[in-house]
Symmetry: C3
Subunit: 274 residues, 3 copies
């Protein structure tokens, strides 16, 4: 019944994007150096308000005021980890949603440990590629080849369900299809184009978008997550229609995200529960 499902999900995704544009939620981002530009521009293009603050000196003042927190361990160091934990704790305590991107979780035992510690602080959503989610579910190092996935997302669905059940988070696994699960339900977000993987930080950027979508409706994190993944994918599809390569795709994707209208979202969003 994909057609029927689409007619539900399209308006849902549009409602999330519209709310973000209207409410302009403030999203604190503690993210890696590579992705800061694209992440901030993705949030701005979607109508949200990004703030890159990572110092423990100001997190106690600032984090309680934000609408959602986004943590990404891409360029992790022991300098930054305490601030990540402090912000996550404060977000959890003040009942703000927070979203984790466990980049390259299996690349080292330091990184795996850091991710597991962060997960114990109750993220609302975790989004990674198949290798990252499998490393976290198995608490094992070595299944990640750098930041790119060496597994298909379909292989990671069972791992994602385990991780969702053990952590209480909604877990998303990116791949040709993006799967999102709360441990029971699994939905597949089927938008996007392969060339998005040739642009650095698109995964980081879409996780930030998830934070913005969750910020406007924390009660349905699975729906918000699937919608954000699909909307970003739609922007990529529309960008791909005029792109000549990965760098022009990056530009057109952001332009498209900014310009997305109701009919494009409703007609293009493909989310299924199959």
């Amino acid at each position: 019944m994909e057609a029927e499902e689409q007619s539900e999900w399209g308006p849902k995704a549009w409602a999330y994007l519209s709310s973000v544009r209207k409410q302009s939620p403030l999203i604190q981002c503690i993210t890696n150096f590579v992705s800061m530009d694209l992440t901030a521009n993705t949030l701005l293009s979607a109508g949200a308000s990004p703030a890159m603050l990572h110092s423990s000196n100001e997190i106690p003042d600032f984090t309680p005021q934000v609408h959602a927190l986004y943590i990404n361990v891409g360029t992790l160091s022991d300098n930054w980890l305490p601030a990540m934990k402090l912000a996550a704790e404060l977000a959890s305590k003040s009942n703000k949603p927070w979203v984790l991107d466990p980049v390259a979780a299996g690349a080292s035992s330091f990184r795996l440990r850091a991710c597991l510690d962060l997960i114990s602080l109750k993220p609302t959503v975790i989004r990674g590629n198949a290798s990252e989610i499998m490393a976290l579910a198995n608490a094992s190092v070595g299944s990640t080849k750098g930041v790119d996935s060496s597994h298909e997302s379909i292989d990671a669905v069972e791992a994602a369900k385990c991780l969702a059940n053990s952590s209480g988070a909604v877990v998303a696994v990116s791949g040709a299809v993006d799967f999102v699960t709360d441990g029971k339900r699994v939905v597949g977000a089927r938008n996007g184009v392969p060339m998005m993987q040739k642009i650095t930080a698109t995964g980081c950027a879409v996780t930030a978008l998830i934070a913005a979508f969750v910020a406007v409706d924390q009660s349905q994190a699975l729906e918000a997550t699937a919608s954000a993944l699909a909307v970003f994918g739609v922007a990529g599809e529309m960008g791909m229609e005029i792109a000549k390569g990965p760098a022009s795709l990056r530009m057109h994707l952001i332009d498209s995200l900014h310009g997305l209208d109701q009919s494009a979202v409703i007609s293009r969003v493909k989310i299924t529960t199959s």
Copy 2:
């Protein structure tokens, strides 16, 4: 008498840009992680020579050689603050102009304190949005919503005059109109397009451009500041004529800044003393 004023300011702005292109001033930037790429590309496109050096180990060797210093507290941490202070001190001592961008000054007491400490080191120019300038003038936390302004620049003009008088700096307040004051005179730079606010780090980038303009003529910091704001705004207007969204505007803005010729600057620059 706007027409007459324009005929004064256009050639003045063009003279500044021409000097930057000819002299290629070396601008040390201690800026936030988000803005480094756009800041460096803005300076290069204007003909200046950016250098991102932030280590206290080399500031004593390097800062005395630069033509201007740019400090931006966007992703402030207690690691970086001592280097910012050291560089500002050295610039002041060696009579080099330096420019401060007090990003999100009111976001935390740590950040506000840091900005006020930096201001005590005698910046030549301070440029912020209305919320930031008001937080600094009132020395108060909480009026800032992240890095985006929640006030109009017109509301901040009185605050800017106070800050200019107390600090000795020229103060610029960005908004629909950018106001620049030395505490007595106020000029309004009226170029630019609203979509520039949907691109991360445009504020940071134009503050760097101010540093380049001040580098070639420190004696008239108000004129240099207004000219830099207007020139950047003109590049934005020209970019907007062919942009399809914020990401293409970012590209066309930089291309336009690089290609600006005398007639475009003279005919488009709008600076008024009203």
Copy 3:
């Protein structure tokens, strides 16, 4: 006999690029904040797999798994230097190629010392501009004007030979012509366009590309280095045909690098031994 030489070098350069696309080598990058985005996108567009990991906590786990290491001192600090050294040591010990970009080597004695220490850890390739290579060969501060070169690459060829002989590295000097030497042979890579110097981090990006080319054939580092420089230059030339300024050139360059085909590489690569 340039024509004959080209008929050798074109297929050689194409073979390197094809190998990178096929093997997708994992390149660890410990690079400056300004260049991370362009560096990662350059590697992805060429078919390599970038990983920006810089923490000493995970280098012992991670570096032995990579195919090449890239170190760039652009935004050096004493926080990052030990990690750079540790990674370089591990790469050398495990016989992995590693490539150094000594950005602004002569800007301070701290930076010069750091670069010389890194060079003692046996880089496979060093690529810098004329000022940087001359500072290193002479072990002297002050010949660098920030990050931009104040010397022509031809002046630095003798310095490059000295440095190659003393360090055991292949040394490349970027300029209007890029010269590459192993201390005996000197080849000139003659592709590229002047406007590439108006884009921040193109030098950093091409050094990362050298790391990717060396990763697929460590035995011929001079050939791999010259090929990477030429291929990047070809992408710049093709980008320039449709660019309107430095920002659109940046985009078209990456698109072109991604789309390069055999005939473009073979017909355009200009490498000479004269």
